[in-house]
């Protein structure tokens, strides 16, 4: 029951983050919203694992957290310079 209530709260927060992702106005607002959305997805997956009573879901959540971080950094690089590769030693 409390897991379901927490899940509803996470979904509401995800919806609010999506509102910001659509409104913008700058590309950094959108990246922030998508990063926040990803963190909440991790929490939602762990909640699903707790509802199912299975610890397997936590592996998926950990993997999602890894991908979310890499994706945020990649999006920022792409938004800043328009390219994903960069010379060695050059400051971001």
């Amino acid at each position: 029951m409390m897991l379901a209530a927490a899940g509803v709260a996470v979904l509401v927060a995800m919806g609010l983050a999506m509102v910001r992702a659509f409104l913008g106005p700058t590309v950094y607002d959108r990246i922030l919203a998508v990063n926040s959305f990803g963190t909440k997805t991790v929490l939602l997956i762990t909640l699903l694992g707790a509802m199912a009573g299975r610890a397997d879901y936590f592996d998926l959540a950990l993997l999602y957290a890894l991908i979310n971080f890499i994706a945020t950094i990649a999006l920022m690089r792409y938004a800043g310079s328009g390219e994903l590769s960069r010379e060695e030693g050059e400051d971001a």
Binding site: A6, L32, A33, F58, D59, T72
Partner: protein, 114 residues
């Protein structure tokens, strides 16, 4: 309801409240850096509360170790991502308008980087 479930419920409810507050902050704050403050600061704590609550439910099992790993990872990456985002926006020329009452109305349209 056992003691573990009560503690877990308390942690989960606290995390839920924080998450919704952060969401409202992301939508309603006037400028990018204020929104970054709302999202970046609260997300780590809310995630910690959630994972602690579920860890209490699972007790001393392998699942709790996995939850601890997720929490340590989020603890490092979430502030890092926020810092990188703020730095990237600052270097791109995004500036916050002066924080006065007169500027509060039109701050939504000010400071576009390009």
């Amino acid at each position: 309801m056992s003691l573990a479930e009560g503690v877990a419920g308390l942690l989960l409810i606290s995390g839920s409240v924080l998450l919704v507050v952060a969401g409202v902050g992301i939508v309603r704050f006037p400028h990018f850096y204020t929104r970054l403050h709302a999202a970046g600061v609260i997300d780590t704590l809310a995630a910690g509360l959630f994972l602690a609550g579920i860890g209490v439910l699972f007790g001393a099992t392998l699942g709790t170790v996995k939850l601890l790993m997720i929490f340590v990872f989020l603890l490092f990456t979430s502030p890092t991502a926020c810092h990188a985002l703020a730095r990237s926006a600052w270097l791109a020329g995004l500036r916050e308008p002066a924080a006065t009452i007169e500027n509060a109305e039109d701050s939504k349209s000010a400071g576009e980087p390009r």
